[in-house]
């Protein structure tokens, strides 16, 4: 397998429309599965940690903690057995796989809000909803945001593998490259994936800093 800069460059210039299309597919699959996973994961995290359900929340932590060790390919393969190939099974398996870190971090963030803080809030006359939205969630933003960010990175990487069950995306170029023993094609798929992952990680890092309440930023810096 010969890979040269010139070879790679000519592949990019000759196939830019195709590359763009695959990048677009990749992004669509990622965004859809990621957004649904955020919605579902954060909801599960919240519901399972409501007062009186703390034990459910804690067992959920154990389960999702362990589930993070399941390899992505196993999830994709399982979904493939039940749903076959195409973008839909791909999105579903990516959703399942990304759900885990988001649920885990949301639940662990909410559970780590000190009982004293919650008791003070309750004793002062905040309703359960006000406690959730004004106290618990703002205090859990660091954990929740980092879960969502981790999930995004994992998702972008795993979307590549999901091409194996006909999802399309940049993984397709890599798989074709592997079959044709074409280093150039493999690189042509891998480089955009890497750039995508890094860019999104940086962007989400910025967002995370922006939404982090100032008081928590100060306490984080104090503890560091």
């Amino acid at each position: 397998m010969q890979i040269t800069i010139e070879g790679l460059w000519s592949y990019f210039t000759d196939n830019w429309a195709y590359l763009l299309e695959k990048t677009g597919e990749h992004l669509v699959i990622f965004v859809i599965s990621w957004i649904i996973a955020i919605a579902v994961g954060v909801t599960i995290g919240i519901v399972s940690t409501r007062p009186g359900k703390e034990r459910l929340g804690k067992s959920l932590l154990t389960i999702t903690g362990a589930a993070q060790a399941i390899p992505s390919i196993a999830v994709i393969a399982l979904v493939f057995i039940f749903m076959g190939i195409g973008p839909l099974p791909a999105i579903f398996s990516l959703f399942l796989y990304t759900l885990v870190p988001i649920t885990f971090n949301t639940a662990s963030g909410l559970l780590s809000v000190s009982p004293a803080v919650k008791e003070a809030a309750k004793g002062m006359g905040l309703t359960p909803m006000q406690i959730l939205f004004r106290i618990e969630i703002p205090n859990s933003i660091p954990a929740i945001a980092s879960g969502i960010r981790t999930a995004a990175i994992i998702n972008i990487g795993t979307t590549t593998i999901a091409s194996a069950i006909g999802a399309g995306g940049l993984g397709e170029i890599i798989f074709i490259g592997m079959r044709l023993m074409s280093g150039v094609r493999i690189m042509a798929g891998a480089i955009p994936v890497a750039i995508l992952a890094i860019t999104i990680d940086i962007a989400l890092g910025q967002v995370e800093r922006m939404i982090l309440p100032k008081g928590l930023e100060i306490s984080k810096n104090r503890n560091a």
Partner: protein, 374 residues
């Protein structure tokens, strides 16, 4: 607002945490709930803002059963402070204090004014403090903010669950002193849980002593110190009960206003001082400046050598003094430390009010002692 507990009970399975407590709290007074852990004091407190639901009995606010009052409204109307403080880390000091007023939809201008007022009250600089976050505060400052927050919406009733429990002894004393001053100003009905009998005696107008879910004794602090109802209360008060009792008696009730001090004018000479002591048959004299402020003291021996004005220069910081609001324990400590049997009492501007004698304090102590023997 009056608060009454009627045969209040709380059971967890077969454990009776609170076992039939009936009592009425006095308005605008600070009532201490005290007892060993598991005695039901905290459970009783938390039933009053329904953080814990009672099993039976009733709690009446102005005669109205707690069941008739919306739980959320009830809590917004009652101040609440806890040992762990529970400040909201993501909110500034201002926002922390503003939580309940905002829930009650106060105008933002009123809230701002109230926060400034409260920070002043707890002796913190409003301009400096308001924008800070909990992570930037010391333990004592956080505790003060916690107290300020519990008073934010100007509730008539404040529940406090060991609010100074986690503070080191030195800062704790300071906070207690500050807290007493605050209560004198705001006059809230405060129910204060503690397990520290010294704190109870120092702060409480009344003390309710709990034992195994029941009320062991409930009375004025002085009455409890003087006449413990049973051996449990006596043990709780400890063997140094008489000394502790001194802490609730203020110096102002014992000020002797006889001739103890001499006002110094420009022309006052040594011989005037000696003459004064001879005339009043005293071995010493407190020296006051023209504004009646205590500036020092002189003894016969000291005066024979020096001119009283020099003496003032040399001894100006040397004279121990008490204030009317000091308690007798502070008085006795100060006199013992200085090795004197008389101590001058001055007001906040250092103006001389009179003296207090060690023998008077001993009289108070022996009255506690004899009460015990009865």
């Amino acid at each position: 607002m009056s608060i009454e507990l009627i045969d209040l009970k709380k059971t967890y399975g077969s454990t009776k945490a609170v076992d039939g407590v009936t009592m009425a709290f006095e308005e605008k007074k600070l009532t201490i709930l005290i007892g060993p852990s598991g005695c039901g004091k905290t459970t009783t407190l938390k039933m009053m803002n329904r953080l814990i639901e009672r099993t039976s009995g009733d709690i009446l606010f102005n005669g109205i059963s707690i069941d008739q009052i919306n739980r959320i409204q009830l809590r917004r109307g009652i101040g609440y402070a806890i040992q762990e403080i529970g400040l909201f880390d993501h909110m500034s000091v201002f926002e922390n204090i503003a939580v309940v007023p905002r829930l009650l939809k106060w105008a933002e201008r009123d809230i701002r004014q109230r926060v400034v007022e409260l920070l002043d009250l707890v002796n913190l600089d409003p301009d400096e403090m308001m924008k800070k976050y909990p992570a930037q505060l010391s333990g004592g400052q956080k505790q003060r903010i916690g107290v300020a927050r519990s008073l934010a919406a100007n509730p008539e009733i404040v529940l406090m669950d060991e609010p100074f429990g986690a503070i080191d002894p030195i800062n704790r004393e300071k906070l207690q002193d500050a807290f007493l001053e605050i209560q004198q100003q705001v006059q809230k009905t405060i129910l204060f849980v503690t397990h520290d009998i010294r704190e109870a005696i120092k702060l409480g107008d009344k003390i309710a002593i709990f034992n195994q879910g029941k009320l062991a004794q409930y009375d004025d602090t002085l009455e409890i110190v003087n006449n413990p109802a049973n051996s449990f209360v006596e043990d709780l008060l400890g063997s140094d009960r008489a000394l502790k009792g001194l802490e609730i008696v203020r110096v102002k009730e014992f000020i002797q206003s006889g001739s103890y001090a001499m006002k110094m004018e420009e022309e006052t000479k040594v011989s005037d001082g000696i003459e004064w002591m001879k005339q009043n048959q005293r071995p010493f004299v407190y020296l006051l400046n023209s504004k009646e402020r205590l500036v020092g003291y002189a003894t016969m021996k000291g005066l024979s050598k020096e001119d009283p004005h020099d003496l003032v220069k040399n001894h100006s910081k040397n004279s121990e003094s008490l204030q009317p609001f000091s308690n007798l324990l502070e008085g006795v400590t100060q006199m013992m430390t200085a090795g004197v049997s008389t101590c001058p009492v001055v007001d906040v501007r250092d103006r001389f009010l009179g003296v207090i004698e060690l023998t008077q304090i001993f009289d108070v102590m022996s009255s506690y002692q004899s009460a015990k023997e009865d």
